[in-house]
């Protein structure tokens, strides 16, 4: 029986090859567009989050209690914190980096800007923040005398400084004295995190402490995990083990709630796109199946007259619509995967929109993401659209008596 239903459905689709192909192409093209959009948008969002995690928040960051409200040089984490067992040997932690932060004024002979001074152990920071990938000009080096600096791309642009130029850094030290230091621009980075790119000045942490009159301590300990899904787990462990009256332990999404909202907005946006695309595809299939069933009413009438049950005809029509949907899915998913794989590897170069993208903290080359749920959601949506598309035509068929159908045309 299934063989007969399959045979009839296949025959019916084959008889209307052009129309079947058109619907398949329409579903395939819609799905391709949807997958491309999802992959690129998710890639964009995840890159933004990744940039922020690497350049600033880590998956988790530790601060001295009260530091974030009042970032004074008296609210520092002690160096001894780094010797805590849970931070030294925790298998969840992939990398860690300490940062000694303070605000200052950076000046050239022509311009001056407020900067975020970031004293870092360079080797650790290079690994932790992936600075090698972010280097736009020069090199990642503080010089043998420790007087080298690495600037954010936006800051360097605003001060119009280039590699090798001298700059003057002024800041108020712990004793409230104003100190100045001449630094040489060794590198310029483009982190993809706009606040960092516009304000950051990396310098050697020891030099920074000395410059600001602090003998030990640091402002932030940034942790990156092997598996970001374990962030909440590690946060719980740290809150249990460490003295939370002295230390604040925050996840990246607590430090940057806007990014989390951005991710949720993107999910909603993708869902809406999904619905829109599949409404369009569903309407297409519905239109075709309605015409296809109504123009074959007589054929179905004959089949009923010789003993075919309505259930068999329903199965045949459903199979026809499902085959169209699956054809479209295979076409769309295949071309979508191929396209996304290319963009996973090579990225989508949006340099023409560089200014605008950087203003939102986005990279100019967007690397796509491929997630299995793109395909499962799409498949479910297509199958639902295909099933829904035959309800009305079948209803009309069911309501008619065979003799009425046979005499109707």
């Amino acid at each position: 029986m299934y063989k007969l239903i399959w045979h009839m459905a296949w025959n019916a689709l084959g008889r209307r090859r052009g129309r079947s192909l058109l619907v398949t192409l329409m579903i395939g093209a819609s799905l391709w567009g949807l997958l491309f959009m999802e992959g690129i948008y998710d890639g964009m969002t995840e890159q933004m989050i990744d940039n922020t995690v690497k350049s600033d928040s880590g998956n988790l960051s530790l601060f001295a209690q009260g530091y974030r409200l009042d970032p004074s040089l008296d609210r520092l984490l002690p160096d001894s914190l780094l010797n805590q067992q849970i931070l030294r040997t925790n298998p969840l932690i992939k990398s860690r980096s300490i940062r000694f932060s303070h605000t200052g004024l950076l000046a050239t002979a022509h311009a001056a800007r407020q900067v975020q001074i970031q004293g870092v152990p360079l080797e650790e920071e290079i690994v932790h923040a992936g600075l090698s990938d972010k280097l736009a000009q020069g090199r990642l080096h503080f010089g043998s005398d420790g007087n080298g600096a690495i600037l954010g791309h936006g800051l360097a642009g605003k001060l119009r400084v280039s590699i090798g130029q001298k700059i003057i850094l002024s800041a108020q030290d712990r004793q409230q004295n104003i100190n100045s230091l001449v630094l040489k621009v060794n590198g310029i980075i483009r982190s993809g995190n706009q606040p960092i790119d516009d304000k950051i000045l990396y310098m050697d942490i020891e030099q920074c402490r000395e410059f600001l009159g602090v003998s030990q301590g640091f402002s932030q300990l940034s942790l990156i995990l092997h598996n970001p899904d374990n962030t909440a787990l590690l946060q719980e462990q740290l809150l249990r083990e460490l003295d939370d009256s002295a230390i604040e332990i925050l996840r990246w999404d607590q430090l940057y709630p806007a990014l989390l909202q951005g991710r949720q907005v993107m999910k909603t946006f993708n869902l809406i796109c999904n619905l829109l695309v599949f409404c369009v595809a569903g309407l297409g299939v519905w239109g075709v199946m309605t015409v296809s069933v109504l123009e074959r009413l007589r054929e179905f009438g004959i089949m009923i007259a010789v003993g075919t049950s309505f259930q068999q005809i329903r199965a045949q029509v459903l199979l026809e619509s499902t085959l169209l949907g699956l054809g479209g899915f295979i076409l769309g998913a295949g071309s979508g995967v191929a396209t996304l794989l290319w963009f996973v590897e090579h990225g989508l170069n949006l340099e023409v929109f560089q200014e605008g993208l950087q203003a939102f903290g986005m990279d100019t080359i967007i690397y796509a993401i491929i997630r299995p749920d793109y395909f499962t959601t799409a498949l479910i949506a297509i199958l639902l659209a295909c099933t829904a598309s035959v309800i009305l035509p079948l209803r009309r068929l069911k309501q008619a008596r065979p003799v009425t159908i046979l005499n109707s045309q």
Partner: protein, 234 residues
């Protein structure tokens, strides 16, 4: 006589609009015995096709009952009628009504496939009927490649292929020349004789009427004559 079809006080009225209704059959009562070879004749509009449609479970009566064997088909729901149409009734339509996506062979096999008959059984039955109806050369053609007469012969083959108990034929010779009409009637008589199929034909073709053992005449929806021409029902 062992009654196979019992029709009692059958009425069929078509509602052409809210105010206008047209009676097609009025108080028709008939008994058709097992193995009968009956012809329903009468002028156009007398209700022949309507009666055949009701007997073929393609339509439901406005009033009255129809029994097929022990089954009162006029009371059955659509879902219950499908197996009766498939297993017990063969229908030859006036307009052939072949399934356009299937070849002649596939059309003939269609009901057998619905019944789940084996491939071998289907093939042997197709070969047997194709020989009898002279359609061997047409088996791989689709309906739109066949003439009206050829389509009619394929339609007859489809109707009898599943060996139904009742064969209904609505003007089966209308699109055939006299030679082919004779061959078709020979086949129907053979089926009636050899396989005990009850045959009920609507026609106003004298060639058909002359072959009838049981003649039923309708006029304006009423039975005006119901008699046996020859007393040789098997």
């Amino acid at each position: 006589m062992d009654a196979f079809i019992e029709i009692a006080h059958l009425h069929k009225t078509f509602e052409t609009s809210r105010e206008v209704s047209t009676p097609a059959l009025i108080d028709v009562s008939l008994t058709i015995p097992h193995g009968d070879f009956a012809v329903i004749s009468g002028p156009s509009g007398s209700g022949k096709t309507t009666l055949l449609n009701l007997l073929g479970a393609l339509d439901s009566p406005s009033k009255g009952t129809i029994s097929l064997g022990q089954t009162m088909i006029s009371k059955l729901k659509e879902a219950e009628l499908s197996p009766i149409r498939r297993d017990r009734i063969g229908f030859v339509f006036q307009t052939h009504n072949l399934i356009p996506v299937l070849s002649a062979r596939q059309n003939i096999c269609y009901v057998m496939r619905l019944q789940g008959r084996s491939q071998q059984e289907q093939e042997s039955r197709v070969a047997e009927l194709a020989g009898k109806l002279d359609i061997e050369q047409l088996l791989d053609k689709h309906p739109d490649q066949l003439s009206g007469g050829q389509q009619q012969r394929v339609a007859v083959a489809r109707a009898v292929a599943s060996r139904p108990q009742l064969l209904l034929a609505d003007e089966p010779t209308a699109s055939l020349d006299s030679t082919n009409a004779e061959r078709l009637l020979d086949l129907l008589e053979q089926l009636n004789h050899d396989e005990g199929v009850t045959v009920l034909i609507s026609s106003h073709d004298s060639l058909v009427i002359n072959r009838a053992r049981h003649s039923i005449v309708l006029r304006d929806g009423r039975v005006v004559a119901d008699h046996y021409e020859r007393n040789d029902i098997p």
